[in-house]
Amino acid sequence: MSTKTLAQVEEQFETFQILNEEGEVVNEAAMPELSDENLQEIMRRMVYTRIWDQRAISLNRQGRLGFYAPVAGQEASMLGSQFALDKDDWILPGYRDIPQIVFHGLPLHQAFLWSRGHFAGSQFPDGLNILFPQIIIGAQIIQTAGVALGLKRKGKNNIAITYTGDGGASQGDFYEGMNFAGAYNAPAVFIVQNNRFAISVPVEKQSAAKTIAQKAVAAGIEGIQVDGMDVLAVYSATKQARERALAGEGPTLIETMTYRYGPHTMAGDDPTRYRSSDLDDEWTKKDPLVRFRKFLEKKGLWTEEKENEVVEKAKEDIKEAMKQADSAPKQKVTDLIGFMFEDLPHNLREQMEEYTAKESK
């Protein structure tokens, strides 16, 4: 009886798709309303991010960037969902989710400074509703329930969205976040980017559940699994989740089926230890850029020329942003001491003096 119930539940979580690997529309009814400009902008962002990812990897190898978690493969999942947001919505990202906050308004050079571990990278512009990439897996998810409830109580017409990975869906905080948001009927959207691996551990070893989307059931919230390599499907699912949240219909968990082509991070991870080249090949065929490019080309909305323009622009911007990051003042200990409290207590006052003397030498 209970096995049967489980099977019935699991059956409901089929992967939602609009574009297949050939860029053909397979779900006409679900096509979102997007102008030609919107469609081109989405492509532009994905191409831009792919170039940025390549550059970031090489800058990291040259020692010119700090911590970096590659994103190639996940562009549709990241940018399709971000494109569905209003500019005043809140984003609570995980460490990999830098593209979303950059397209939400974080200047690129600040993303680079953050990567280098310079605190000027975290002093983001006023009015930008983001948090900084969370390192503690799961912490952002419970905070999202809080932000969403806050937005609701303050009468704002905005949502809070957060991201984690398939591994993150194992954390207690993941369940607590969904459960709280559900209990308070808070306007939250939880995205789990299922790129199949948590560093080296495959998703099959994370959980006995067939999908992560079905985990919404226990929290009593909506859950959907989406083809994460299909930017239109991700956009559309997020847009609907956002509208439902604002209409008071509760939070949604969205599982995007995706893949990261690169290593987990640039800090010594070697994917060949845990990933087969067959699997890599299988997912390269699903590439979100290729698929969407085919779709747009058929509509006469994308050309090689357009693509090259974006590539050049991205390279130009990155160069400029690196220059800006390089010119940031050297990080001082006194700056850090100064930000510990509004008023410095005795111990920090003394240490401030000590380090002021050292730094003036």
Binding site: G66, F67, Y95, R116, G117, H118, F119, S122, I135, I136, I137, G138, G167, G168, S170, Q171, G172, A198, I199, S200, V201, K205, Q206, S207, A267, G268, D269, R273, Y274, K330, Q331, K332, V333, D335, L336, I337, F339, M340, N347, L348, Q351, E354, Y355, E359
Partner: protein, 325 residues
């Protein structure tokens, strides 16, 4: 004897104990096929199988609870917290549950668990990876807290930790993992927990320290020797419980002491060492016991690490203050 890095010595200790006792289990995030993010468990799953060395889902609280449960059913868990900054995720299991198992059951049940975790600064990790949180666990009754500073010590102490019938938090400084090699016997040996090691003998000043700061202190001692100051360096190795006898005997010989830690001044265990010294040997002191530590901020962003972390120059400066008091 073999030349080993600290991380190889740690792997060797686990291999030894996995061989020695089939109840020993090694688990955590990425410790299996990947051999750990630092390769501390490299090859162990291949050698001992997935039943003995295994990956867990990504949930530290789950890992801690699993260790407690396995401990209750006769196993000897060696659990890994991938970076000690993630301690907070498993703090209830470590500092609220496993440490009181023996106490609350009047000795009927125990937690023979080893909690292994990398920590420590100077490697420019992102936030919440390097933080020196040893003070939090060292202040928790019912836990032993071990921090080795050399490959030789690491192997002997880890074998002792795994064989200990009480929970031991075993902290591995990331910067020491591969910074040098040293001779480590291939055969098994143990180093007792709760005992400090005098890494350098001297008669003018005692430096009490642990972890990576042992090396900075030894370097400072070398420099001070050139100026005719003869420094004794005590490596605590176990920071809880403290080896009071070794500390006090040294201070009573040198009459001067400083305590060096990488942690913030208000964190770590230096304050506790100072308190023990003043309570027990105030009359033998020629000068106040000073501390060398990091400032009381949140652990810094990577770009500020070098300026923020205590170094041998700061140790020399403080040592001279005490000598010239």
């Amino acid at each position: 004897m073999a030349q080993m890095t600290m991380i190889q010595a740690i792997t060797d200790a686990m291999r030894n104990e996995l061989k020695n006792n089939e109840d020993v289990l090694v688990f955590g995030e990425d410790v299996g096929q990947n051999g750990g993010v630092f390769r501390a468990t490299e090859g162990l799953q291949k050698e001992f199988g997935e039943e003995r060395v295994f990956d867990t889902p990504l949930a530290e609280s789950g890992i801690g609870g699993l260790a407690i449960g396995l401990g209750l059913t006769g196993f000897r868990p060696v659990m890994e917290i991938q970076f000690f900054g993630f301690l907070f995720e498993v703090f209830d299991s470590v500092a609220g549950q496993m440490n009181r198992m023996r106490y609350r059951t009047g000795g009927k049940l125990t937690s023979p668990i080893t909690v292994r975790s990398p920590f420590g600064g100077g490697v420019k990790t992102p936030e919440m990876h390097a933080d020196s949180l040893e003070g939090l666990v060292a202040q928790t009754p019912g836990l032993k807290v071990v921090i080795p500073s050399t490959p030789y010590d690491a192997k002997g102490l880890l074998i002792s930790a795994i064989r200990d019938n009480d929970p031991v938090v075993f902290l591995e400084h990331m910067k020491l993992y591969r910074s040098f090699r040293a001779e480590v016997p291939e055969e098994e040996y143990t180093i007792p927990l709760g005992k400090a090691d005098i890494k350098r003998e001297g008669k003018d000043l005692t430096i009490v320290t642990y972890g990576a700061m042992v090396h900075s202190s030894l370097k400072a001692a070398e420099e001070l020797e050139k100026e005719g100051i003869d420094v004794e360096v005590i490596d605590l190795m176990t920071i809880s419980p403290l080896d009071i006898d070794t500390i006090i005997a040294s201070v009573e010989k040198t009459n001067r002491a400083i305590v060096v830690q990488e942690a913030q001044k208000q964190a770590g265990i230096a304050a506790n060492v100072v308190a023990e010294i003043t309570e027990r040997s105030i009359l033998s002191l020629e000068a106040p016991v000073l501390r060398v530590a990091a400032p009381d901020t949140i652990y810094p962003f990577a770009a500020a690490e070098d300026a923020w972390l205590p170094d041998y120059k700061g140790i020399i400066e403080t040592a001279k203050k005490v000598i010239n008091f």
